[in-house]
């Protein structure tokens, strides 16, 4: 391993990458199912108000849910069709998310988008296009992009970092997007730089995606734009390299303080998929209702990198890919380190879903946990310098309320501690409990 690879200083683990299952599979456009269930809450914030009612006809790309104040992002129709229900959907963490169901017009053709010139637009105009398109951080958190791109007055931002680390095992969506759409990613980055009024951009990519690094470097050279300097930084393969704080440390050496945000150290971070969505919104005038997700794991008949529309149910995806295998033991939305296990296939894909994993018994670990043997491996693994062992013992002893001094609120639940724990202790679960009971 080259010593020039960037990385963060403390902690980190090396889970089996399992990316070989899908990393060579080109993005495949999934045929449209007949019905779409589009949640009105696909972002960090409050749900959107529906702008449509039952039996309304909507065109692909129409605005169907609007932010009514506060934090949020618009929601658009993924297909042309008729509204059949305004009700609720099951999400990975919530059982009733307000949603709109569209029955697709089987005759309607796909909407086509033609590129327009963006270079004549002002930063304000660019930002409002991003806002109108309903773009959120699609790497997982779902923070509205237009809010993140407008830091409060007085903050000085000098660096944009695009997160192409994709450190979660199995997931290969950012990898395939960088490989197949490098120009879009680079132009998206240029748009983001223009919005922020800065010139320095970095794309951090883990070194296990060297093909993507090469392709992006060529694209950055070919798409050169005056006033935008975009470098592609190779990162050491170490989980959680793609965590915002760790990525910022790896690329800039700056540390975002506890309770702080990236702009506190002059940095804005966006995910690769988000950047591609920014390109679509600004250049093609296409709202965010379509994305690439990885369907992987040894429990699905045919793994794939699928381009799907928001609102596609997992059930339809499974059916398209030939069903699950008999030894399927766990279904996870997102990556295996931070994703959510789900109990049903009737869950629609949202903007923030990066993948759905179908894991077999061999791939998961469901051994019962034992007592802490104080090996200290979790302390070594924690990228935030916490002591998960102590927090776990406090929670088990019924003293979750006393755990604030252990820094539980710094924990972003990357799962490194629970991954290495030889006693198989559910440390993330303990810490979540601690966060609920502890006083800030």
């Amino acid at each position: 391993m080259s010593t020039s690879l960037l990385t963060f200083a403390k902690g980190g683990v090396h889970p089996p990458e399992s990316k070989e299952i899908t990393e060579r599979l080109a993005i495949e456009k999934m045929p449209l199912p007949e019905e779409f269930e589009i949640p009105l809450l696909q972002h960090f914030g409050a749900p959107c108000q529906p702008l449509v009612k039952k039996k309304d006809r909507v065109e692909e790309g129409d605005l169907i849910g609007q932010v009514t104040g506060g934090l949020g992002a618009n929601v658009h129709a993924s297909v042309t069709g008729t509204i059949t229900d305004i009700g609720t959907s099951i999400g990975p963490v919530s059982l009733n998310v307000p949603s709109v169901t569209i029955s697709r017009d089987l005759e309607a053709p796909d909407k086509t988008y033609t590129p327009s010139d963006w270079k004549s637009l002002s930063p304000q105009e660019l930002l409002s296009k991003i806002k109108d398109a309903g773009i959120v951080g699609i790497g997982g958190a779902g923070f509205p992009a237009h809010v993140k791109l407008a830091p409060p007055p007085g903050t000085k931002v000098d660096k944009l970092i695009l997160n192409g680390a994709e450190c979660e095992p199995y997931l290969t969506t950012d990898h395939r997007v960088m490989l197949e759409k490098p120009e879009e990613v680079i132009v998206g980055a240029q748009i983001l730089l223009r919005v922020l009024g800065i010139s320095e951009g970095h794309i951090g990519v883990e070194a296990n995606k060297s093909d993507a690094i090469d392709v992006l470097r060529k694209a950055a050279e070919a798409q050169k734009l005056h006033g935008a300097k975009i470098s592609i930084d190779a990162l050491q393969v170490k989980y959680p390299q793609g965590s915002e704080k760790q990525l910022i440390e790896s690329v800039t050496g700056r540390k975002v303080p506890g309770g702080g945000l990236p702009f506190d150290v002059g940095v804005i971070v966006q995910n690769i998929g988000t950047t591609k969505a920014v390109y679509d919104a600004v250049v093609l005038n296409k709202p965010l209702y379509e994305k690439v997700i990885t369907i992987s794991g040894r429990g699905i008949s045919r793994p794939a990198n699928l381009q799907v529309r928001v609102g596609t149910r997992i059930r339809d995806i499974v059916q398209y890919l030939g069903g699950t295998k008999p030894d399927l033991a766990k279904i996870v939305m997102g990556g295996p380190m931070m994703g959510f296990a789900v109990s049903t296939l009737d869950i629609p894909v949202t903007k923030t879903v990066s993948g759905v994993l179908f894991l077999t018994k061999e791939e998961i670990d469901d051994q019962p946990h034992g007592p802490c043997i104080r090996c200290g491996w979790c302390v070594e693994a924690c990228p935030m310098g916490l002591s998960p062992n102590e927090i776990g013992l406090y929670v088990e002893a019924g003293r979750a309320a006393d755990t604030a001094p252990f820094g539980v609120f710094d924990c972003f639940e990357c799962g490194s501690c629970a991954f290495v724990c030889p006693a198989k202790r559910p440390l993330v679960q303990f810490i979540r409990l601690a966060k609920q009971k502890a006083k800030r």
Partner: protein, 350 residues
């Protein structure tokens, strides 16, 4: 964890899937794997002991291991806990307890030590992970306090004629010699050279393990190899073993001879239970600190107390009590040496 059943997707029945909190993948390591690996690393020294001290060392070890396993099962039953004898930790305690008693003790002695330490030291304190003291060392301390004569005199001079069943015949008295540290403490270096040969011969013999001593402590070479395996597998780090051995060597060199800087550091670390204690006992996860600097401090403490006992105390050897004393400081060391937090919010640290 909750088991859920989903309806069918066309012809593909969906099996019952587990729902639990992330992470969904975990490393292949486990408590049992660690314990059994340590047990395996401890076996070669026992083989050597069978050859040089006789077959009864194997019997003593087996008695100790089985007593610990049975005591663990009974303790867990009495305390209404789930029985976890398969995790290898009781076997490890049994091995270590046998390794730190002399090769000529009666067979019933390890049974007493095992029952006492597994029930009192381990399970009454809360079981695996909650014991304050290293169980094997408490077992030895208990036996030394209860049967001081047998525990400090049942030594055997190494044999080189493969008469391994000699001490199992009736009427053959095992009490036949004294350990190098005993000779050194009570009669001085000249007497030691008289008994074991020139200093260079002693270095070689003691490194290989050809000397009287406890069952598992003599073969420094085989203990070292076992320790290297554990370090290579990242089950232990070098910090505690190196700091213990280095401290004993340096402090003996300074204070252990005529005047200052005249002691023999090599002899000091090759005798007694230094390697066994430093590599396999002071590194016990439960009773030693987790932070690297705390481990260095812990190792220094073990080494310093060992030398103090050897030079000024009433016993010729002090590794056992040194580790037990430092065990009491482990929680304090863990709290003094905290990991470095990632840019904590102001006023948020402990």
């Amino acid at each position: 964890m909750e088991q859920v059943k989903d309806t069918q997707i066309s012809e593909h029945p969906l099996p019952a899937c587990t729902v639990s909190i992330s992470p969904h993948v975990k490393s292949r390591e486990s408590t049992a794997k660690i314990m059994w690996t340590v047990n395996a690393c401890l076996l070669p020294p026992l083989l050597l002991s069978v050859f040089i001290f006789g077959f009864q060392t194997l019997i003593i070890t087996l008695v100790s291991v089985f007593s610990c396993v049975i005591a663990e099962a009974v303790s867990q039953k009495l305390l209404h806990r789930s029985i976890t004898i398969k995790d290898g930790s009781a076997v490890l305690t049994g091995l270590l307890l046998a390794y730190i008693i002399p090769p000529g003790v009666p067979y019933w002695m390890p049974i007493l030590g095992a029952v006492f330490t597994i029930y009192i030291t381990k399970h009454l304190f809360g079981g695996l992970g909650f014991n304050i003291f290293n169980p094997a060392l408490i077992g030895r301390a208990f036996l030394v306090a209860t049967f001081p004569v047998a525990m400090t005199s049942a030594w055997i001079m190494p044999m080189n004629d493969f008469s391994i069943f000699k001490y199992m015949q009736p009427g053959v008295d095992a009490v036949s010699t004294a350990t190098p540290l005993y000779v050194l403490k009570h009669y001085g270096l000249a007497a030691l050279i008289d008994k074991y040969g020139a200093v260079s011969t002693m270095y070689k013999d003691f490194f290989l393990g050809v000397r009287p001593g406890c069952i598992g402590e003599v073969s420094n070479l085989l203990l070292l190899l076992g320790g290297l395996v554990l370090i290579f597998k990242k089950y232990i780090s070098w910090h505690i073993p190196v700091s213990v051995i280095a401290t004993i060597g340096v402090l003996t060199w300074i204070f252990g001879g005529e005047g200052y800087f005249n002691g023999d550091p090599i002899l000091a670390v090759l005798t007694g239970g230094v390697f066994l204690g430093a590599i396999f006992m002071a590194t016990d996860y439960v009773t030693s600190p987790t932070q690297k600097y705390a481990q260095l401090a812990f190792g220094f403490g073990v080494g310093a107390i060992t030398v103090l006992i050897r030079l000024k105390g009433g016993y010729p050897e002090g590794v056992c009590y040194a580790i037990l004393l430092m065990n009491t400081l482990t929680p304090a060391l863990d709290s003094w040496f905290q990991p470095k937090r990632f840019a904590p919010a102001k006023g948020a640290t402990k």
